[in-house]
Amino acid sequence: MEEQELLTSVETKLRENFGDAIISAEVMRDFPVFTIKRDKIVEVIKYLYDEPEMEFRFLTDLCGIHFPDNKGKELGVIYHLHNMPKNWRIRLRIFFDLNDAVVPTLTTVFSAANWQERETYDFYGIVFKGHPNMKRIMNVDDMVGFPLRKEFPLEDQNREDKNDAMFGR
């Protein structure tokens, strides 16, 4: 199905059932992308899972993103869903404030979300409410700070052997 047709069919279904929880719907390159309100995201995904004409039963990806310039909507979580039999792919996005980084967990619908939500917590500090094991996964457990936020530096600031003057920094 063409992306525009897929966009309209999914959008009509979602707007029927969720009304104004759907903030926007557009096609970006070759993906229909929906921006959803944060507190309805699990219901939307569960609906897309169960509805016989939608059947997005595969979670391809779950990641976080940080836009420090969008005040009030700095942090975001991006979900990629896939309907394998019909080969439909869509992207869902939610955005929320930096100081209120709590999102309902998707582990009740997809077991695949388990570690991916832990990774998003580790990198961005987004807490997934209801997650069975909300701990850091990649970094050391006692790390302070969330590395993939834009203000966190890439290099370890305490290293002694790399001379910044020689490396042009």
Binding site: M138, P153, R159, D161, K162
Partner: protein, 186 residues
């Protein structure tokens, strides 16, 4: 492409200086122990990433590391001589590497294979240890990303030279103990 190998360009292993006679050979204990240790190294492959796959290629039939005596890999630190650290060591892995090193019995040597183990490599990030010599003493560094098997074998040969020429009293000398104390290892 068979080349005629002349007798003159084959280098036989030369015996250490000593007194020879019918049925006996006398030399200093250092040298004998050095030869024995150097030609039967039991490496511990501490393989974490891509260099580990090049190590597997070095152990395989084409670049056979077994010809240098290092055929029997030991995954238990208690039975190993040479700790070969291959791959990136992250800060999370550092304490484990140090624990494995302290569990090894003397004499022990360390070979750091690859750019990541030697200095952090291309990963100058918050989570990667910039070189294992931050936490354990290293004898030979093999640079490369990943180093070719021939480079690894060159590193092994250098370790063999170090082992052959090492004094058997080295490990009990105070300078050695001071060096270990700098790393916080008893």
């Amino acid at each position: 492409m068979a080349e005629v190998v002349e007798k003159s360009n084959i280098e036989l292993v030369s015996s250490p200086p000593g007194i020879e006679g019918p049925g006996f050979f006398a030399t200093s204990l250092d040298k004998v122990i050095g030869i024995a240790r150097a030609n039967s190294i039991w490496p511990l492959p501490f393989a974490t990433s891509c260099c580990g796959i090049e190590f597997m290629a070095t152990m395989a039939a084409h670049y056979d590391m077994g010809r240098f005596g290092a055929e029997r890999l030991s995954f238990s630190p208690r039975q190993a001589d040479l700790l070969m650290v291959m791959g990136t060591i992250a800060k999370k892995m550092g304490p484990i590497l140090k624990q494995v090193y302290t569990q090894m019995a003397e004499p022990r040597w360390v070979l750091s294979m690859g750019a990541c183990a030697s200095s952090g490599g291309i990963f100058d990030t918050y989570s990667v240890l910039q070189g294992i010599d931050r936490i354990i003493p290293v004898d030979v560094y093999v640079p490369g990303c990943p180093p070719r098997p021939e480079q690894v074998l060159d590193g092994i040969v250098k370790i063999q030279e170090l082992i052959k020429n090492e004094s058997i009293r080295r490990r009990s000398r105070p300078e050695y103990k001071d060096m270990l104390a700098k790393y916080g290892i008893e």
